[in-house]
């Protein structure tokens, strides 16, 4: 659909080339304009596959900067899919884009799995497969689903649906639980339906058919709630973008429009409550200095930076936006051996800015941005929802001490 609706809007103005972080970092990539709308015109007649498409990270900066509303990044993902159809996938790419499967297998034995991943022999095998020599995200010993189901929620009339996604589901469940607690405190009951990986990693690794299956599953699980008018929340900005935009760009699945319309980034939902005067704002600033990094997939959502807005509104909170661009990891991209250096080169400005503020904690929604920033700068990282919840708890503690 996206091909017919957007390619002829491209005027070849070069705005996407200017703002493409990959083009800036490597000359191997021919650039979003040429590989997306440019070559797509030829692909309408026959498949014209260009190998450098493999360098595209699907970061969406081309979409954000395009003055003519061309769906550049998704055209590139479709081209990448065609490229892999011909070339065939590496085992490595399959492993990196199926983190959910490994997580579901490993979560029950998280400690062993985490130890195993760091084991020298495992690292050797991973390296031989083409995985970069960097720590893989550790699985949490109690995944989000276990923690959530163990929680006795206060039932409320008002309900929201939470889509955790893989990273919060298995690696950073605390972010999801912090959101659940905040929502409970504000009179919302949380529903977590039976969902699977949103498909971001399979889309950016050229497994479009598999992504369709995931989309179908998730839309089926979410549309029932969307039809009831329940808000659908995500804390992961890539999952959010998938539910709200990419399913619509890529597939024609019944119910996806309704899901997209009910989707909220968790921060966006809380800001909306605040704007309506319905958010309990008894937050107490948390000590320390904080730097906010805007994930590209949040910027692409057309909702501004709600996490930053919430935190900036807490009296005494020392938080500033970094304003230094993409971190470069792009999910699985930065874990690939031959892409690792490019991924670091993309994030160079960001890392420099963070290193210039030693001791500051970096606040950002995206789990893999957090991994990249922590890996390179050694700075502590936190999701804005977790920091907000900490500010809520800190106030509760302060007021109970006062009594």
């Amino acid at each position: 659909m996206i091909k017919q609706t957007t390619i002829n809007k491209c005027t070849a103005c070069t705005s996407c080339v200017i703002d493409c972080p990959v083009t800036a970092a490597t000359r191997e990539f021919k650039g979003p304009k040429l590989l997306g709308p440019g070559l797509e015109r030829f692909r309408l007649f026959e498949q014209d596959v260009e190998a450098s498409i493999d360098y595209c990270t699907n970061c969406k900066n081309c979409d954000i900067t395009c003055p003519s509303d061309v769906g550049v990044s998704t055209l590139n993902m479709l081209a990448k899919n065609e490229f892999y159809k011909r070339k065939g996938h590496r085992l490595r790419d399959w492993i990196l884009s199926h983190g959910e499967l490994f997580a579901r297998l490993s979560s029950p034995v998280a400690a062993i799995a985490n130890w195993g991943m760091a084991f020298p022999l495992t690292r050797m095998v991973l390296s031989a497969l083409g995985i970069a020599d960097r720590p893989l995200p550790a699985y949490h010993k109690t995944d989000f689903y276990q923690q959530f189901h163990a929680l006795r929620q206060q039932p409320y009339e008002q309900k929201v649906v939470f889509y955790p996604g893989c990273y919060i589901g298995f690696n950073a469940p605390q972010v999801g639980m912090d959101l659940v607690h905040l929502l409970q405190a504000n009179g919302y009951e949380v529903i977590v339906p039976d969902v699977v990986c949103c498909g971001t990693p399979v889309v950016s690794n050229g497994y479009m058919d598999e992504a369709r299956e995931k989309a179908q599953h998730n839309i089926r699980a979410l549309a029932v709630w969307a039809q009831k008018g329940y808000p659908i929340l995500t804390c992961c900005t890539s999952c959010g973008l998938m539910l709200k935009q990419e399913y619509l760009e890529l597939y024609d699945i019944e119910g996806s429009q309704q899901v997209a319309e009910q989707h909220y980034d968790a921060g966006e939902f809380l800001v909306e409550l605040k704007d309506k005067g319905q958010l309990k704002t008894d937050f107490k600033a948390i000590e320390g200095s904080y730097l906010y990094h805007a994930p590209c997939h949040l910027r692409a959502q057309g909702i501004g930076l709600p996490g930053l807005e919430l935190l900036q509104n807490i009296d005494g909170m020392k938080i500033a936006e970094i304003d230094a661009g993409c971190c470069g990891i792009a999910g699985s991209y930065g874990f690939k051996k031959e892409k690792y250096d490019i991924s670091l080169a993309i994030g160079k400005n960001l890392f420099q800015a963070i290193k210039a503020c030693p001791g500051a904690t970096v606040v950002t929604e995206c789990g893999t941005c957090q991994l990249q920033i922590g890996h390179v700068t050694k700075a502590a990282t936190i999701h804005p929802i977790s920091l907000l919840y900490a500010a809520w708890e800190s106030n509760k503690q302060a007021s109970s001490e006062a009594e």
């Binding site: 080339v17 003519s68 935009q245 760009e249 009910q262 704007d275 304003d323």
Partner: protein, 418 residues
């Protein structure tokens, strides 16, 4: 629903400038951006009025008197133009990237097409006022650079009286950039961002040029809005380096955009990217809110005043349909010159009348209908959406953007009488 004092729609030069002006007056701003506008890839020189009636102007001021009543400069008034230019120059200076020039005289910027383009405020790196005095001009020829042909440039210069008798010399430069794709000025500017690139450039050029000479380069002196690289290279090479204007990506526009975006972030304005404004809520001649619709839900942004800086045909502010031109968001009456264009006949450069299509405004930059009646009380227009000027023929695009953005901003915050 989000509320701010002023909502700016559009993030090209007009929108960014208006947002900066409103914010520096202490009012809250939400900037709704759909794409980066044309500033990102353009030349970024502030051309105020370069030509009139097909001839180059020595000074923008000389042309003002002759402009028609509905021209944006006539509406802003001479004082309005002066104030806006003062504001913009101050803003750039304070950000560490002062622009050179004044309304008193145009500067002639050499271009990679071998021509000279009249402009008013330009980066110091492009200021070529003293170039005419040189009897020997050198051109840096980067190997493999796209859209850069030294022999064509020299041929072009020799057609200009002041430059006809000079000696020209090409200085080949090899960047040794990795293969993979075409080499653009953007690639070389990024190479120049690195110390290694600068050192490499100096070592190659040093032996080939005489101290005190003039070296013309494409716009490659880094991507950031400062003069560090330029000064550093000039010192090390002991020569004058002048950047030429180039087709997209023009680099110099990119620098200006970076400067303005950093300023807006510093001012903590709310920048909403991918905000596709689809409609507005109007109550008795006043705009209450605008609504964005792209993927997902509609979102509404409320404001006391609105600045519409959505651009012309390229930016998407104006939409051409068969036999009609429409304004995309408010459905404002467009003074369309389609009939005139048809009369003018074919040919890209004859398309002048169509560039003059746009919305007529009052002195507060508010939209007027075709009979001159005010349409909306609190909506102010800036930039290429305006009727009555032809940026292409006049060389006035960025100048009109800055002047009308400043006027719109001052009117939006109730300070139009300074």
């Amino acid at each position: 629903m989000k509320k701010s004092d002023v909502i700016v729609i559009g993030a090209g030069l007009a929108g960014l400038t208006a947002a900066a002006a409103v914010s520096l007056q202490g009012h809250s701003v939400t900037l709704l951006a759909k794409g980066a506008g044309t500033l990102a890839f353009g030349g970024g020189t502030i051309d105020v009025l370069g030509c009139y009636d097909g001839r180059g102007l020595r000074s923008p001021k000389l042309g003002f008197e002759a402009l028609p009543a509905h021209h944006p400069y006539t509406i802003a008034g001479k004082q309005g133009v002066i104030e806006a230019m003062f504001f913009f120059q101050k803003l750039c200076s304070e950000a560490g990237y002062p622009l050179e020039g004044s309304l008193e005289s145009n500067v002639w910027v050499p271009t990679v097409a071998g021509t000279f383009k009249p402009s008013c405020l330009v980066p110091k790196t492009m200021s070529a006022a003293d170039l005419a005095k040189a009897d020997h001009i050198q051109l840096a020829a980067f190997a493999g650079l796209k859209d850069f042909y030294p022999s064509m440039i020299v041929k072009g210069f020799q057609r200009v009286a002041l430059y006809a008798g000079k000696a020209y010399h090409t200085v080949p430069v090899e960047t040794h950039l990795a293969p993979g794709r075409d080499i653009t000025v953007l690639d070389i500017a990024r190479w120049m961002n690195t110390m290694a690139g600068q050192n490499n450039f100096v070592s190659q050029v040093k032996e080939q040029i005489a101290p005190g000479s003039y070296l013309l380069v494409p716009p490659v002196l880094g991507t950031e809005p400062n003069y560090d690289i330029w000064q550093h290279l000039q010192e090390r090479l002991n020569c004058r380096i002048i950047e030429m204007a180039a087709p997209p990506p023009g680099i110099t526009g990119m620098r200006l955009r970076t400067l303005l975006l950093h300023l807006l972030k510093k001012q903590k304005i709310a920048l909403i990217e991918q905000a596709h404004v689809s409609q507005a809520e109007i109550q008795s001649g006043c705009c209450k809110s605008v609504t964005t619709k792209h993927f997902g839900r509609e979102r509404t942004y409320e404001g006391d005043a609105f600045i519409l800086a959505t651009g012309g045909f390229l930016g998407g502010g104006l939409v051409a349909e068969p036999l009609a031109v429409k304004e995309a968001i408010f459905g404002l009456p467009v003074a369309s010159m389609l009939a005139a264009e048809q009369a003018a006949g074919d040919g890209l450069l004859n398309a002048g009348p169509v560039f003059q299509s746009g919305v007529n405004v009052d002195e507060k930059m508010r939209p007027l209908d075709l009979h001159g009646n005010l349409v909306l009380e609190n909506v102010h227009l800036a930039g290429n959406i305006l009727a009555g000027y032809d940026y292409c023929a006049e060389k006035s695009g960025n100048g009109v953007a800055v002047v009308t953005a400043y006027r719109a901003a001052m009117a939006a915050v109730g300070r139009e009488q300074l």
